[in-house]
Symmetry: D3
């Protein structure tokens, strides 16, 4: 967060296949599998409904009202990456639109996650380039001041280190540290498998009270029923 | 709001048919018919566009970050109910997702209205189980602390008593006290009937100024036209 | 903002064709062409996805919780106008619904932009009458206190003078002073033409760094690459 | 919340001495003693530092931008009361200033708690009439529409029934149901007595880890120390 | 709001004596006298308690994160002026601190009103240079982009024209158009005189219900008393 | 942010004397000297006016509504430390009051910086134990779930590593990485020395336009004066 004017070209990316599989499990399951850590603030919303993406983080530290470093970041994108952008001070300007999205997509980026605003959101939907942002704003940015690429950044309250796995969907954005990705995938797969059977039973009218054996713990906690 | 650890099994529900008919009239008309009372704060939004529901309230008082009582509430749902959940302190966690929605739906619930967050919102849209919430968040909850079921709760600034009618749609969520439901329905029907003819006249270019005889009151209030 | 109880019948509208053409260019391009001025706050959002409109402003100054002047404004609408409403104090009530939308549409209005709430949003989507607002609320308004029509108003932080061009879409709402409309159109057209070629090159994988000749300025600004 | 145009003259007040003694214990201790219930949202702040008050609730239901019912409420104040005002829709106008404060004080009111705005805050500080509010605003109100006095109201997320005990200080505002006041006082006194000895030990450098015997539970929960 | 890079040296200031006398009456009284118009949003707060000021407006239009134009504005200050600053996009940076305050004070400025952040707030209090702002932030600004001085600006939702009277105190900030200043002073003086006698009567226990003859209008409006 | 249930006993603290001297220079000067980085969001406010503190960071990662780890952190405090607490999800509960403040003070802590709520704020002022927080709330917390001590935390948008220097005052809270502390002190001292002479000249009426030689750059940027 303090190193400005620097681009790290080499980053250690989490395994791309692991990132892809974490994406299919969704942010809610992955967040639980991570021990309920790594979730960005819920103000981060997709710019179109149904957006979902996962990949390895290329990070950008931006200055307020200045998107110069997004162009620098474009060159550092490898196929399968998700660009994650923090800003040195709160800003809702539209840093990113259809031109940058075209460039990012051509470079193989899967998505953008930005703790600021974006614009051209109709075009982003038509292109199906998924973006999670704090705001939508027609106000553009200048290209005047250096930030950095591939340094650790804080984005919407979460610390993101280059190479971390990002899982983003309608429910939010989760950051999985690269070193924990494989282990988190195992835990998430187990959790997910566990849910399929439950869904069927609940659909049949079985109560969670019975399926999860909650009646006795509730009684011990002092729950009283009154007729 | 002060009685924790209690489940009232017997509640007096408003008439289900009245609840259904209020639902067809919509939250805006019902709110007017009620004398402009009972509306939850406008931060309560449906998790998918076009959601609308009405029914009788089963209430839940939740603790922050803890959804245990939603499982307890599931057993108290009768077909036609809408579950309404207040929280003892502000919380945006995702208390409710597709598993609980499957269970609530199997029990006959029409909707959930919750002054907190929910998750699995894409699945909720696919299931067409309507939910109004304050937030969407992948962050789940624990099951550790008792709240209550079927006590009066404050939800998004409105007092909800078990059995009240809930009318929810794209415009918001209105609470109709059970004792006022029938009378409110009459007023809402009258109001609605009154609007149909007006719509046709306005579509023909008649001005509200003339249709509502506003010109004289405006003149008396001092309105001046300047050419 | 200080003249209450007045309706100016004659306003000097910007050229309707210029307004229409600005609309096709979109709020982001027009905002840049204006010198990055005139954008309303980003909390102004369309009530349905994909809404876009442009036209000449008929302005309304409303009192909190009172929509009387919207009826007065309806009579002042000429085909191609966009009604822009400011309020003398912050209010999220639903000032406008399907009846007024029917009337405005019949008068030839293209859209409503209101620094307050609206309701009947599903019907507005079905009618395809576009509205940008601060909130959605089922809470209606009364008709008791005078405001004004066609006086300058502040709407979502922007000053709007009657006859100005309004351009609104998914990215926000921009106000173009009537005197600057033609010049802004020229600048916006030039800007837009300039983007088409760029999009194709970026799609081919050319980097913005090269296309915009940024490498040398970045080096001069001190950017360092680290392997 | 639905009964408009009504003033209940007879209310059952909690014991005034109990209310006074709860006030000396403070909102944080009373909130714990109540089982962590009854706290208004933390956006309710005193208009001058150091304000603190307790008393029995006279409730008022106000309309947005209209303070007529505060005058009606003044007549219902008995010495030792705290006036608690909810509003049927969110509003930050200045409902209350030095004239009403003079009147309330002359009637024996201890404080005002209002889920809206107030004004003349310097004079309120000079008079030492304590007020907790959501906002400060010079914008005054009209006297045109009926609300009610001494009906249950929702104020800043808490339900307040006439006669309840209100405890307000720098930490917030707590509502104690009249029926629970005596029991809550006992619990709060016990809690408070318990704290005095602890403060002395902590000041001597004893750690909470030891004083509260937390080391073993922390170890069992899995806490690891790394040198 | 659209003219950037311009400084108007000649402005027509409202009468300084009228501005001073409006200041002694306070923002609440002046706002009423103006017909309840011209109040900035209540998020504008003084940086120290007890601040109050009035004077004639020198206006500044600032760019986000850039305080260059405050230096340009300093030269345009005449004794008795209040500097009022709007920003072309929302920004909470600290545009103003003790150095600029020293300069403004030396030039005879009475206060600063800024729709952004300021810093050095302790020093501002010690200097007794009153400032109303949206935020306090240690983050400083650059000096790189032109705005304008003495053009009309929108500040916290209010339109301010150079030379207007600004009245600011603990209750908020009101803008009085220069052309209305004398008339507003008369109305405010009358209103104030009217209040003195009322205060004494209310202190004696007379109810507003009686003093304002409200009982009959309340009865006609349908108010019912229930014992 | 992902390591829960761990306490690092050994941390490398920045030099205490450097921390103390940075404190005397203030958050605004230090933030500039750091290259305009490291500032927490401006919503972090001191609980009493005039609070200021500096020291080396002991960090705590808290769970929502649970202050157990603050007791664990107390043991890790060395004289001259500032405790900095992040939370795994947004929470405004009152995690800290006069008992913990007594303990922290006895251990030699200089201050608490917490991205959540605190209570007993009057007592904190009387004790002169400075606290910067997001909220004030009487709602207390439980002691049930592990977090960590002395891991990197995100607090109000800033990354804090154990041992970093914290500078906090009325203008905000700045984090200086331990490795940059000495260099930042030099830059801050130079900046501060530079300001003293300027203040005197500005007080004499010299304009910043002249003192900073801005007239020529402004002219080149295109500034026009109009009489």
């Amino acid at each position: 967060m303090y190193e400005l004017g620097v681009v790290y070209r080499r980053i250690v990316r989490a395994d791309g296949d692991v990132a892809a599989r974490l994406g299919t499990l969704g942010s809610a399951t992955v967040h639980e599998a991570l021990g309920r850590a790594g979730l960005m603030q819920p103000y981060m919303r997709p710019v179109y409904a149904g957006a979902n993406a996962s990949g390895t983080a290329v990070t950008v530290l931006l200055q307020p009202g200045d998107n110069w470093m997004l162009h620098v970041a474009a060159e550092q994108i490898a196929p399968g990456d998700v660009v994650v952008a923090g800003v040195t001070a709160a800003c809702s300007d539209g840093y990113f639109g259809d031109l940058l999205a075209t460039s990012f997509k051509a470079r193989g980026a899967r998505a953008l996650v930005i703790d600021a605003g974006v614009r051209d959101v109709r075009a982003l939907g038509e292109m199906q380039f998924p973006v999670w942002s704090k705001a939508v704003s027609a106000r553009g940015t200048v290209k005047a001041t250096l930030g950095s690429v591939n340094v650790p950044v804080v984005c919407a309250g979460a610390l993101v280190t280059p190479g971390d796995v990002i899982v983003a969907d309608d429910d939010g954005v989760v950051v999985v540290p690269a070193a924990l990705a494989a282990k988190t995938l195992d835990a998430a797969v187990a959790r997910d498998a566990n849910e399929a059977g439950k869904r069927a039973r609940l659909a049949d009218g079985v109560l969670g009270l019975d399926m999860y054996d909650m009646r006795e713990p509730l009684r011990k906690a002092g729950l009283r029923y009154i007729d």
